[in-house]
């Protein structure tokens, strides 16, 4: 599904990614872990198409197409979804109107007819249940005045609505209490199917108890320095990142 080869990226003069290789196949869940500043969020941003980051070397293929050639909206229509670490507040745009526009853009791209108001509402009601989000919240301006938990649930609600092939969860666990974490993780798990993939970017192992990864990769100084199964996350939690840093130096 996703094939990253020797990816280098910088922002301004700051080189952040220094040669990332990663293969994600359909049906797999990958976790990207690492200390602060290791480049985790940069990787997520580069995949989503954030323009501040400049890719200086390497390739990314998504479903056989050159991802780096695509604008952020094209990537989303092709089936990439990034749940933001800090969802943006947009006064004056309601989540419902926003989602209606987005869903129909994605549907048109897939050769499906746009949803009429009734079908859209039906779809929305179904997905709202998944993340236990209230309609009154969705009638309001996008994320405006939402609590941290509400914002993150709104991200997963959008994920459910857009039905992507690859979901990238960027620090989705930050700012969530244990109940909200469980709701968000349950939502993600229910959406997971054999033809989809998930990349979970996280600092802590906590989220991975609920969204169980097939692979765990440790990012340090812009490179993947260690890969393993889900037990690697547990080991990291117990030993801390210094353990990885030391082993890299050694």
């Amino acid at each position: 599904m996703l094939s990253i080869k020797n990816l280098h990226a910088k922002i301004g003069d700051n080189q952040i990614l220094n040669g990332i290789d990663l293969e994600v196949k359909a049906g797999e869940i990958h976790a990207i872990m690492g200390p602060n500043g290791s480049g985790k969020s940069t990787l997520a941003s580069v995949l989503a198409g954030r323009e501040e980051f400049e890719v200086t070397e390497g390739t990314v293929e998504f479903l056989g197409k050159d991802l780096l050639e695509m604008s952020p909206d094209e990537r989303a229509r092709e089936g990439i979804f990034m749940a933001f670490q800090y969802p943006v507040e947009i006064p004056g745009v309601s989540t419902i109107n926003f989602m209606k526009t987005a869903v129909n853009q994605v549907r048109t791209h897939r050769g499906l007819p746009p949803l009429d108001a009734v079908s859209f509402l039906g779809l929305m009601k179904e997905k709202m249940k998944l993340v236990d989000i209230d309609q009154s919240l969705l009638n309001r301006s996008l994320n405006e005045g939402f609590s941290g938990g509400e914002k993150k649930r709104n991200e997963i609600f959008q994920l459910a609505m857009l039905d992507p092939r690859l979901a990238i969860l960027d620090e989705t666990d930050s700012g969530l209490d244990i109940d909200a974490l469980r709701i968000v993780a349950d939502g993600v798990n229910k959406l997971m199917t054999k033809d989809k993939s998930i990349i979970v970017v996280t600092h802590y192992q906590r989220l991975l108890e609920y969204i169980v990864p097939d692979f765990v990769h440790v990012l340090y100084k812009g490179k993947i320095v260690k890969s393993g199964g889900k037990e690697l996350a547990v080991e990291l939690e117990a030993k801390g990142y210094d353990w990885v840093k030391d082993s890299v130096v050694a």
Binding site: I90, F98, T101
Partner: protein
């Protein structure tokens, strides 16, 4: 025949006599105004009130010679769909619709009303000719316009629309006087348009008297008027417990100057002022507003928003006066702007003069660009850049449209504005 010639330029001073010359009771006012204008002249480029908007220079340069009337005006092109209204339409100075015979409402040509003594108490008293040279010129030069009287206790079911169409390269002056009696209510919408791309000049002055417990909703919709230079002055005098809502939507034109002045000469008044200017090309739009709190316990709120693209320019100047005895005044003002190009400009200036000590007043003005973070967020959900941009700009502008009380007008504006924003070239 008297001649008004202070200047040979007909847009600065009409060579044809205005309606005032035909009303004997106004002869003194006419002569005084004429002398005053001769003395003060038109504001030059350094005049404080006009330094960002060189109206005098624009009029000096204006040439109206080549194109006459097209004679092909389709009023339907300028109608507000689904609005159930009484419409009085003027093509140049000619009224082209029958005069309405609405029960409980007096609508007459202002010239006829003044000749019969109606409106004398208010004419040129709310819009003082000495307050502004362009008002002075209007006082001398106006040739058409309406006298609208809503008798005490009357609520007008339908809004009154005054449609001003400039056909061809013309210069004209219009004058309206609106008198809303005690406990009466009405809505007056002035809509401006011009045919083709002809250069035209319109100077319109509207004065309104809003008596105790009365309500007046005033709209100015400036769209479909490429090539137009417009001076639009609205002056309102409010009495106890009256309410005024003013809306100014500037969606086009060449050079537009809107002066809005509300005098709150009563207690318990409420005044709301909303404005939106959506400018591209080399359009220049200037909104000067004054709210004068003269008595205690009144409330005013002002919200003006602007979006400027290309080489367009917006100007906002908002004055709030709170007189010494106007205690317990609440007065709020906000002006927010988005610049879409590096060549677009805005000058915004709040001006608060508060002599009373027990008041709540606030003002704020911002100028910024489109929020790139928000744009990326929308795009990251599959929405193309141009659509995402239109959504964000509409979200910004929409606050002024949402404040419109008439659903049909609101829908009309929403449609016009979103169509404009969705066009990629905007």
């Amino acid at each position: 025949m008297t001649t008004n010639a202070i200047d040979t330029n007909p847009t600065l001073l009409g060579v044809t006599p205005g309606a005032i010359d035909t009303i004997p009771s106004l002869a003194t006012l006419r002569d005084e105004t004429f002398r005053h204008l001769q003395e003060v002249g038109f504001p030059g480029p350094k005049h404080e009130e006009y330094k960002y908007t060189p109206l005098t220079r624009a009029l000096e340069k204006l040439s109206l010679d080549d194109q006459g009337e097209t004679g092909a005006v389709n009023l339907g092109d300028y109608a507000i769909a689904d609005l159930d209204a009484t419409v009085v339409a003027f093509v140049n100075e000619r009224c082209v619709t029958p005069f309405p015979e609405t029960e409980g409402l007096i609508v007459k040509p202002l010239q006829e009303a003044l000749a019969n003594g109606a409106g004398e108490n208010h004419f040129a008293k709310i819009a003082d000719a000495k307050a502004d040279p362009f008002v002075a010129w209007n006082t001398l030069a106006w040739t058409y316009g309406l006298y609208i009287e809503v008798p005490a206790g009357t609520t007008l079911a339908k809004p009154l629309v005054i449609l001003h169409v400039s056909d061809g390269a013309v210069s004209k002056a219009a004058r309206n006087l609106v008198v809303v009696g005690k406990n009466a209510q009405c809505t007056v919408i002035q809509k401006f348009a011009s045919t083709g791309k002809s250069t035209s000049y319109v100077n319109v002055v509207t004065e309104a008297f809003v008596d105790e417990n009365a309500r007046l909703d005033l709209y100015a919709i400036q769209a479909d008027m490429p090539g137009q230079i417009q001076f639009n002055q609205t002056r309102v005098l409010q009495k106890d417990n009256s309410r005024v809502n003013s809306y100014a939507f500037t969606l086009g034109g060449k050079l537009v100057r809107n002066n809005l002045a509300l005098a709150l000469d009563g207690q318990g008044c409420e005044s709301h002022m909303y404005g939106l200017y959506l400018l591209n090309g080399d359009t220049h739009a200037d909104n000067h507003t004054v709210v004068d709190h003269m008595k205690p316990n009144s409330f005013s709120n002002e919200l003006y928003k602007g979006i400027m693209d290309d080489t367009s320019r917006g100007v906002f100047n908002g004055k709030i006066y709170v007189r010494p005895n106007a205690q317990k005044t609440n007065a709020f003002q906000s002006n927010r702007n988005i610049l879409l190009s590096t060549d677009a400009k805005v000058n915004t200036k709040p001006q608060l003069e508060i002599w009373a000590d027990d008041v709540k007043c606030s003002h704020g003005c911002t100028t910024g660009q489109i929020d790139e973070e928000a744009l990326f967020y929308l795009m990251a959900r599959g929405i193309p850049r141009s659509t995402a941009r239109a959504m964000l700009l509409y979200a910004f502008a929409g606050e002024t449209i949402d404040a419109v009380g008439l659903p049909a007008v609101q829908q009309y504006l929403a449609q016009r504005v979103s169509q404009r924003l969705q066009r990629n070239d905007f």
